[in-house]
């Protein structure tokens, strides 16, 4: 169960906004986290607390393929990102590294910045504790659920290769 305050953004939050290009020669999560949303929302790191939830409307994470973006978000303490939809490379990257993403239009429409949410990933529900609302999230496709359950793509791949050798 994840619980935290919502940091809400609009449409088309791009990967340059999440972590600016000048930091792309860094590749450690903790270092990237120091620059999360640096240009787009300079106070974000002052406000964010471990477990908090990032929210946006549509096409979150558009632009570059930099895995540095979900790494920075994860490293900043954000426990999951909820949006109406995500850009496809960002979606893959986040799932691969174990940053949960949830697509839920209704939750986004009915949640305001600063609301407190409780997210049950396995049960597929988002509760807005501030407003007393509950939203259902459609489950991941089977294959992707398996990848998430394995703990990310690397662990999933390791198991696949091991089963091939048997």
């Amino acid at each position: 169960m994840l619980k935290g305050k919502v940091h809400k953004y609009g449409a088309d939050v791009d990967t340059d906004a999440i972590v600016p290009g000048r930091y792309l020669n860094l590749s450690i999560t903790e270092e990237l986290a120091k620059h999360c949303m640096e240009d787009a929302d300079p106070d974000f790191l002052k406000r964010v607390r471990p477990g908090d939830i990032m929210m946006a409307t549509t096409n979150f994470g558009c632009g570059s393929s930099r895995e540095h973006a979900p790494m920075a978000i994860k490293g900043s303490g954000i426990s999951c990102v909820i949006a109406k939809n995500f850009a496809r490379i960002f979606f893959r990257n986040a799932i691969n590294i174990g940053l949960p993403l949830l697509e839920c239009e209704e939750a986004v429409d009915k949640t305001e910045n600063g609301d407190t949410l409780e997210v049950d990933l396995s049960g597929g529900t988002i509760k807005n504790l501030t407003r007393g609302l509950t939203f259902a999230v459609s489950p991941y496709p089977d294959f992707m659920a398996e990848l998430i359950a394995a703990g990310g793509l690397i662990e999933y791949t390791r198991r696949r290769l091991e089963s091939r050798r048997v």
Binding site: D14, D16, M71, N85, A87, N96, P141, R158
Partner: protein, 437 residues
């Protein structure tokens, strides 16, 4: 099946595939660069295999922070170089016929029609110009595929874009793609494949097609594909390193959407700061003074792009208030530009010519903008802060508009500065025959 479906089915070992279906597909080539390699290599080591699946199908290109910007960047490229050596993968060293990855790979014949290519760079979609299905992924996906040789894909729906009519002077692939993104938005093709067809596409040069496919990602697309024709065949004729298959869409191929544009009379397009979707005709941009003009990149760093810029700049001077930076897309393009006298034209006009690098485009190094500065650029993204200060601005255009604006000191159409001391494109005709014209 349409073009994307045909290629994906072939790589998944299936008779047919449908949009929305999850497939496991073998890949023909994997690309990684100095930004994404350090994470890919670290994650690859965690998988617990000692060797990559096939070193001949992995290419490593130092192009983003290179020539090394600082010690961290130097450590990154060193790590990539050592991994390439250890595993025997393809590797291009700076200066040694290297270049910006998406200019370099087609030029070297490392991507051919009908292939499936994944790269740890979002502009990997560039190779769609060759009738390949190519798409960007992150470092971890690349790490896993370096170990297994395959990857999971969701078969995308395809949007067919039909361009009728013929393009006027100073209008090319960049203008078509900016216009398209302006119409459908930065998520207009989210998770979809784009298939570009029509008489304007048939008339378009390979360079123009690379430019369009390159920016498919700016509409959110997974891939942007072109059908193989005589121009494609000519381009790859002297470059092909191995056999390949050409796929054609079926007559009854299904498309999620078909969009038609009549592009006759279209003006050069300029995307205003903030989003590539802020496109409008150059005549409607208004009076915008600029501090910098960038010509080059994986979007517009090919020979034809430099020829167009030189055509505008020949015999003229860059405005005293403007830094004009030219980045050939590869050492081969640099050499061809040198042979044709383009480099001399640039230097005499007052432009700085650099070795190929992604530096200025992504605000990494070389050409960073200060607060309040404005740049016109032939690159692909104008997100806030993309090229430097979050309080700087980037306008996107084709190379002729960028060159003309460099001369005028404000954003103008090439028509406004051509006329005095002009040179025709013919005066830059290649002295030696190029095989793809």
């Amino acid at each position: 099946m349409n073009l994307a479906e045909k290629i994906l089915a072939a790589h998944a070992g299936k008779e047919t595939v449908r949009p929305g279906e999850f497939i496991n597909a073998r890949v023909d080539m994997i690309l990684v660069n100095d930004v994404t390699a350090p994470i890919s290599i670290r994650e690859f080591r965690r998988i617990g295999v000692s060797k990559v699946f096939d070193p001949r199908r992995i290419v490593m290109v130092p192009d983003h922070f290179t020539p090394n910007k600082d010690i961290i960047s130097a450590e990154n490229t060193k790590q990539m170089r050592e991994f390439a050596l250890e595993q025997g993968t393809l590797y291009f060293e700076v200066g040694q016929m290297c270049g910006i990855e998406h200019v370099l790979l087609p030029e070297q014949g490392l991507v051919l029609p009908g292939e499936l290519v994944i790269g740890a760079d979002s502009h990997t979609c560039t190779y769609g110009a060759l009738g390949a299905f190519s798409t960007g992924m992150g470092s971890t996906d690349i790490a896993a595929t370096m170990a297994t040789g395959d990857t999971w894909l969701k078969v995308p729906p395809t949007i067919k874009l039909v361009y009728q009519g013929s393009l006027g002077e100073w209008v090319g692939g960049k203008d078509l793609i900016l216009y398209t993104i302006g119409k459908i938005g930065v998520d207009g093709a989210r998770y979809a494949a784009m298939e570009f067809v029509g008489e304007a596409i048939e008339a378009l040069s390979m360079e123009g097609r690379f430019t369009m496919a390159n920016m498919a990602i700016e509409a959110g697309a997974k891939a942007g594909l072109f059908r193989v024709d005589n121009k494609t065949q000519l381009y790859i004729k002297s470059r092909e390193r191995h056999a390949y298959n050409v796929y054609e869409p079926d007559a009854d191929a299904e498309y999620a959407r078909v969009i038609e544009y009549d592009v006759s009379g279209m003006e050069p397009q300029v995307a205003l700061p903030g989003s590539p979707a802020n496109a409008r005709p150059v005549s409607e941009v208004g009076d915008i003074a600029i501090n910098q003009a960038v010509i080059g990149s994986c979007t517009n760093g090919r020979l034809e792009d430099l020829q167009l810029a030189a055509q505008v700049l020949r015999g003229k001077k860059v405005h005293p208030g403007v830094r004009c930076l030219v980045f050939p897309g590869s050492e081969q393009v640099y050499l061809d530009a040198l042979t044709l006298g383009l480099i001399e034209t640039f230097v005499k006009a007052g432009a700085a010519v650099s070795t190929p690098t992604c530096g200025p485009c992504a605000g990494l190094h070389m050409g960073i903008l200060a607060e309040g500065e404005r740049c016109i650029s032939t690159t692909n993204r104008n997100f806030i802060g993309r090229m430097g200060s979050p309080k700087s601005e980037v306008y996107l255009s084709n190379p002729a508009v960028a060159a003309a604006s460099a001369v005028a000191g404000r954003i103008v159409s090439p028509e406004e500065v051509s006329g005095q001391g002009t040179a025709s494109l013919e005066s830059y005709a290649p002295k030696r025959k190029r095989n793809y014209r």
